[in-house]
């Protein structure tokens, strides 16, 4: 290997390195310019999927364990409850109540006999389990202490 060839090779390496550096520079530049206009790189994502997700999130946001739209506790059976129990009346009516399994089943029967509720089939057990688990009956005695008192100064 003579000195001439060695020099040529060095130049070639240097050239490749410079070209690689230049390409990298251009690529980074393009990326940065793109980032200014579309910071989420949304153009590269599946559009249908994204909008579906966004719409769906509006409907069923869960925050601090609560399904925001209805106020129901996020737990097993939630969607079955929503789909069967909020068509006629508000979820607020359900959430206010505390009943035993037997009492809920009796209430469901009453709604079927007088309020046009459909046959719940296997969903009935899912619904009643959800209700008694997440909204359990508590013994409140014959008169409870006053709670949630908001104290304020009263000038006479």
């Amino acid at each position: 290997m003579n000195k001439g060839e060695e020099f040529k090779k060095s130049v070639k390496i240097l050239y490749h390195l410079m070209m690689a550096g230049f390409c990298l520079f251009i690529m980074v530049g393009v990326l940065m310019t793109y980032y200014v206009f579309d910071p989420n790189f949304s153009a590269f994502k599946n559009h249908t999927e994204t909008t579906t997700l966004l719409k769906e999130v509006d409907e069923n946001i869960i925050e601090n364990g609560i399904h925001l739209r209805t106020g129901f506790v996020y737990a097993e059976g939630l969607m079955t409850v929503i789909n069967n129990c909020t068509n006629c009346h508000s979820a607020k009516l359900v959430i206010q109540n505390r009943m035993s399994k037997e009492h809920w089943n009796e209430t469901i029967r009453w709604m079927q006999e007088t309020q046009k509720l459909w046959d719940l089939g296997l969903n009935q057990e899912i619904i009643v389990n959800y209700l008694v688990t997440n909204y359990p009956v508590e013994d409140t005695g014959r008169r409870e202490n006053l709670t949630n008192i908001l104290w304020y100064d009263l000038e006479n």
Binding site: R69, H89, N156
Partner: protein
């Protein structure tokens, strides 16, 4: 993300379950689906209610007051509780609205337009106490089913209308008349056109009282839509469900009215007292008539901190269904001792009465001011929650407020 996915999958699978087949492209189905929750109007604005009112239910609308909101002697619309059983009727036209008097015990069926009602019969104005039968339900143990009212399902507005008696007598009441029943224009929650949300009534004797009105004005103005525009039956002192909203027909019945929420366990309590939680057969339940004696401290708002040595002015209202309140007392030592305070006569029969007093506290500390009323028959409000009943009606336990002396 995991939660979203989970919820999304469960939503889809429950839709699938409903339809009974897998939904192809299900993931795209929710696109364009407009959540109703986002379009719902603000009930406080829509019904002109005070922002401190408590919304219990939005389908059907149910909203209650807090004690301190009810301080006015005549309750304004802004703090009147809402108890709806069905959906508010839409597109009401007062010009074409009619009221029909019919039934097995009517002499001649008659129909009146609003103008006819207003011009043909003498008009009367009464202040009438309307309390929901389930007011106080939230305190029953074991819990009773339904809207969990605390203390705010009561009001006493001024109602103007014609006497139900005058209208019934114009059509003619047969000797065998037992009951009247109202029918109204509201729509059942299920949307079924042949189902009525509520159709209650009163024995013929109550219907013939001077104060039982077919009202078209409340506090001097047209009745607000949510409270029964354009016509409401108003029967003070009885469960407010008797005072039917949006009424278009009244039947004179030759038997006890059997409309929606007259039968079963609705607005009924056990004929004989039962143990808490006991099962009661429908035939052992009796219709609630007059509401029991009760009172409410409307000033000050619970939670007041006052200086040691200062005396505290308290005031509020008391009522007793068909009866009058004769004595009003308060206690600051959980009922160990009671002091009497002044109680005014009612503006008219079946209107609530106003009490007021000055309370002294012996030393610093936490106190509760309890109030109790006694009616003309010597019956006094209980300090504990009264007789348990399956639907949680008639809780007339003493009201109390918290006070701190510092």
């Amino acid at each position: 993300m995991k939660r979203r996915d989970f919820v999304k999958k469960t939503t889809l699978s429950s839709f699938t379950a409903l339809i009974g087949a897998e939904i192809v492209f299900g993931f795209n189905m929710l696109e364009g689906y407009n959540p109703l929750a986002l379009e719902e109007p603000d009930p406080f604005k829509m019904f002109h209610k005070n922002k401190e009112m408590v919304l219990l239910n939005d389908k059907p609308w149910n909203m209650e007051a807090q004690a301190h909101l009810l301080d006015d002697k005549i309750t304004p619309n802004s703090v009147m509780f809402i108890r709806n059983n069905g959906l508010i009727p839409e597109g009401i036209d007062p010009l074409s609205w009619t009221l029909t008097i019919d039934g097995a015990s009517v002499v001649k069926e008659k129909t009146y337009t609003l103008t006819e009602l207003k011009s043909k019969f003498k008009q009367h104005t009464y202040q009438l106490t309307l309390e929901c039968g389930g007011n106080g339900r939230s305190e029953f143990n074991p819990p009773a089913k339904g809207n969990q009212w605390t203390i705010g399902a009561v009001h006493c507005a001024s109602w103007t209308g014609v006497r139900l008696r005058d209208v019934l007598e114009d059509a003619g009441i047969r000797n065998d008349a037992v009951y009247i029943g109202y029918y109204a224009a509201d729509v059942h929650l299920s949307g079924a056109p042949n189902k009525e949300p509520i159709s209650r009534g009163v024995p013929i004797l109550k219907s013939l009282q001077d104060e039982t009105l077919i009202a078209f004005k409340m506090n001097g103005k047209d009745i607000p839509l949510v409270h029964g525009y354009p016509l409401r039956l108003v029967a003070g002192g009885w469960p407010a469900s008797v005072s039917g909203k949006w009424i278009n027909r009244i039947s004179i019945r030759n038997k006890i009215h059997d409309g929606a929420k007259m039968t079963g366990k609705a607005y009924r309590v056990p004929c004989d007292p039962v143990a808490p939680g006991e099962k009661v057969k429908d035939e052992d339940m009796c219709i609630i008539e007059s509401m029991p004696v009760k009172s409410l401290i409307t000033y000050p708002k619970s939670g007041a901190i006052i200086k040691e040595g200062a005396s505290l002015n308290i005031r509020g209202h008391a009522w007793a269904g068909e009866l009058e309140v004769t004595k009003m007392e308060y206690s600051i030592d959980f009922g160990s001792t009671w002091k009497e305070c002044s109680i005014e006569k009612p503006a008219n029969r079946l209107a609530w009465q106003h009490f007021s007093g000055w309370v002294e506290f012996p030393k610093k500390g936490y106190y509760e001011v309890w109030a109790r009323a006694t009616d003309t028959q010597g019956i006094t409000q209980p300090m504990v929650v009264p007789g348990w009943n399956p639907k949680g009606y008639l809780n007339n336990a003493c009201h109390r407020i918290a006070i701190k002396v510092s």
